[in-house]
Symmetry: C2
Amino acid sequence: MKEGPDIALIGSLIGDPARANMLTALTGGKALTATELAATAGITVQTASSHLSKLETGGLLTQRKQGRHRYFALADDDVGLMIEGLMGFAAYRGFTRHRTGPKDPALRKARVCYNHLAGDYGVRMLDSMLAEEVIGGAGDKLTLTKAGEERMAALGIDLPALRRSRRPLCRTCLDWSERRSHLAGSLGQALLTLFLDKGWARREVESRAVCFTATGEKAFLRLFPVAG
Amino acid sequence: MKEGPDIALIGSLIGDPARANMLTALTGGKALTATELAATAGITVQTASSHLSKLETGGLLTQRKQGRHRYFALADDDVGLMIEGLMGFAAYRGFTRHRTGPKDPALRKARVCYNHLAGDYGVRMLDSMLAEEVIGGAGDKLTLTKAGEERMAALGIDLPALRRSRRPLCRTCLDWSERRSHLAGSLGQALLTLFLDKGWARREVESRAVCFTATGEKAFLRLFPVAG
DNA sequence: TCAATGCTTCGATCACGATCGAAGTATCAG
DNA sequence: CTGATACTTCGATCGTGATCGAAGCATTGA
């Protein structure tokens, strides 16, 4: 009864539909204002403000003041991973809100998972990196190989800078649509940023979907081939 | 707003303290009756019954009639993994109910995680199996190697029987106390059963703790050595 | 300085759900 | 059949928390 961690607190925070909607929206990775979040949740700003303060004291969100705006974002990677995990469970159980929306195929193909690439393409990328031994490791412990370091540096990724942060370089994140792992961590984030910067893909507005251009798709698939 | 899976449903199911207590109790792996669950949650049987039916229609529990008793258990491995995931997140955030109870050290050392071994010993076991290449694989994809098959068979584990079931043989499960992975899946379950059958360890009553005997501990550590 | 925007705080309302007593159903032992 | 145990269903109560209107701060721009 009173042993172990308290999951009820977190459950109740996520259990309210309005809060769940806001958290889901923030899983898109962008920091959003209170008014934006209120709109997506379908409530007034007052209620949203109340919810946001609860989520903040619960440690799920951080806020950043910028002029007269306050931008809210998920507190850190762990929150994103936890929510993705719940979404995976919910999706597997068929707890979907509207069966399958029109954007659903696009989301399953490629989407933003907090700050890295998810969906079919995300899973493919990690698969390919493991097959080509760019990334090695056992269990949930992923490490960048020597060959991997060269590949990443050649792509223009500043590894020393990533290593300077305390966040882990590589970690796995369970994909809710594929039910397989994709690459998270600061390297996962850096790779997604790279794709966007190179113009290989762009983010859909008002959605988590990531839309690859024709040339971007080719380049991506060449960079991360799949066996068979 | 209406894209993606609905996490609020699951959140609200877990969000009630009484239900969270029951689920936590059931993470111990044993099937429990409604009266037992009511006692651990500190509520009457009527309320417990109401909660249990909600959890069942939510797909988190299954019930099995046996005479005039009804035994409740977690629906499957996925539910256990999901709850352990939440516990990990909650523990890391310091959402503990009573700081650290007296049983806490024992729980951190070795405990039951739904149906397999968790805690320090659980993490050690997987580490050792990976180092000795009994289990191979990268990311979340764990596989038993040829050498591993022999080792497991020598221990008296009936691999063909395990393979006959549809459940995955090996999978990772995030440990909330160690924040590392331990071995789940049917093999993880079979190994814990083996330890208990061999008398190497026994389950604490009314707790998730697993208590190793002196000889059992020696045998376990010999079987799963750690480098360094 | 004034007006406009973005957000929070206060206060009141209201609904949902947790809770338990009482009664009803099922199973078992004699 | 009778009594006992295990659990569910019904009905009523009650408290918590979600919600929004109105007012209060804070920041920006003119």
